[in-house]
């Protein structure tokens, strides 16, 4: 089972499963503590300059946007990120917080390429290592499983592989070629959920994206939740817990935390705001103005929501698709 081929991309986040085990044993809160705090406190305490960071799900869908904006507000520097993103990555890259990215997709969905990414990548300011969307999720899955790699059948034969840090080997059981992707252990992860209790036990309605895997692949994990519930409610339906409390370092109560993105069964995406953003992000200046208005210009999530306007927000609740 020798290595037949190696991608030339840099392994942006070196890792050791032995060290990760030690961390999980000594640094994670096993007791039942009330971890509720504000965006400001959570980001100040658990996100550090130079961190390797990730968010789940992405920009316009169940994304921890109130946390993403707070990171910009606090001007964290020299971050490396795992890049499945739309809006959140645009904010970070435009604000100059990101030095390198394991990228799978950074664009504007039906609205095409991200001008923010283009400016950063084409000027050579941003280092990018390529992966498929599956590969990124599987890298987190490997870390979540506590193993140093996972074999996959994606990426084979492509330049996506060539510019990644994956390897091709021969399967010792079947002789077939498989691609091995290294475990991805994030320094810090941000996940927005429908409900969590004060300890961090969290539930998600609808698709879970890669929340299960990312929550288990982070050294530090910040949860933001639309609703804080009593632990008894969690214990009544234990099969609904996707993220158990001992994985969680901070719990932030963030109603409309995914705005301008949607939250399944709770509120629709804010198309008006998205149009404003899409217009703004075309130019460096427009993007800075957007940041001034919606990030630097407000002190916290509450002020942000006031700026959006409660009428607009309740309209988004009314527009939501039921079950």
């Amino acid at each position: 089972m020798r290595v037949l081929e190696s991608g030339i991309g840099e392994l942006l986040q070196p890792y050791s499963m032995v060290e990760f085990r030690e961390w999980n044993r000594t640094q994670k809160p096993k007791g039942f503590q009330d971890k509720r705090m504000t965006e400001q406190e959570a980001i100040a305490r658990f996100v550090h300059d130079g961190d390797y960071i990730g968010t789940e799900l992405y920009g316009t869908v169940r994304c921890p946007m109130s946390l993403a904006r707070e990171i910009v507000r606090q001007g964290k520097k020299n971050l490396r990120a795992v890049g499945q993103g739309v809006l959140e990555l645009d904010l970070w890259v435009a604000a100059g917080l990101i030095s390198a990215m394991d990228i799978t997709y950074h664009g504007l969905e039906i609205h095409g390429v991200s001008s923010v990414l283009r400016r950063a990548a084409e000027s050579g300011r941003l280092k990018l290592v390529e992966w498929s969307n599956g590969a990124i999720a599987w890298r987190m899955k490997a870390a979540a499983m506590g193993v140093p790699f996972i074999p996959i059948k994606s990426m084979l034969g492509s330049d996506t592989f060539r510019y990644s840090a994956a390897k091709v080997v021969e399967c010792p059981f079947t002789g077939e070629k498989v691609c091995l992707v290294p475990a991805l252990v994030l320094d810090v992860g941000l996940i927005h959920v429908h409900r969590a209790d004060p300890y961090g036990n969290a539930q998600i309605d609808g698709i879970s994206g890669f929340a299960f895997e990312m929550a288990r692949a982070c050294k530090r994990l910040i949860i933001s939740a639309e609703e804080i519930v009593d632990p008894e409610e969690i214990r009544r339906y234990p099969e609904r817990t996707i993220i158990p409390y001992y994985l969680v370092d901070a719990v932030v109560h963030a109603p409309f935390g995914s705005h301008p993105g949607e939250m399944a069964y709770l509120y629709e995406r804010d198309d008006l705001h998205m149009r404003e953003f899409l217009e703004a992000c075309r130019t460096e200046e427009g993007m800075q103005e957007y940041l001034n208005t919606y990030v630097y210009g407000v002190r916290n999530h509450e002020e942000y929501l006031e700026r959006i306007g409660h009428e607009r927000l309740s309209a988004l609740r009314r527009a939501v698709l039921g079950r």
Binding site: K127, G134, A137
Partner: protein, 256 residues
Amino acid sequence: MERLPYTPTELLICTAARLMEDGATAFIGTGIPMLAASLAQKMHAPNLIPVFEFGGTGAILKRLPRAVGESRTFYRAIAASGICDIIETAQRGFIEYGFLGGAQIDPYGNLNSTVIGGTHDRPQVRLPGSGGGNDVGSHCWRTIILMQHERRRFVEKVDFITTPGYLTGPGAREAAGLPPGTGPYRVVTSLAVLGFHPETKRMMLLQLQPGVTVEQVRQNTGFELLIADRLEENEPPTPEELRILREEVDPERLYI
């Protein structure tokens, strides 16, 4: 084509929709494929199973999704799981069709959605990247590619193989370790429907869109195109297709 009762985009959607069989599983990406899947569900394929990257399986496409993760992709779905489950389902061979787009395509159906020009570290144009594209193109049995038919997009060699087509030709996918029997099946454009030659795996013109000539297709293709012996003309969108597309699939006019 402005005098036609339909736009190039509508033609593309209707052509793609007709390729979706009832009861088949189809991996649906953002944009045109969503409209095609919705149209197919409302026309000939009520049991089409749309599968979306981040966990939605078998949704009723009541409202048109704008992204592969939003709640419209799992509205009254038969399952709402996560990305690993979905892509592993494709990896296990359960997904028949995969719908892809790209900025560049070559004669072997290799797709580029990563970088154009310059170097990888300093490209002329940086595109979004693979996303689920590479996974779909690796695992789905038959990938259907939707493209704008322009000379600068249909090139002899793509600048970057984001998603593998037939790579360098016959046997290349298998040699790379990709699952046998998979690969690009059709390329749908507003000018034509193209396939791939069973032996050489090079792109081959199969159908012309209504009123389009072989010469037009050649002029808009940057490499030598094989021509099927029996060249067919695709049926134009029917009034019924157009009505459902406009009134039921995309009444909000998000795309059309």
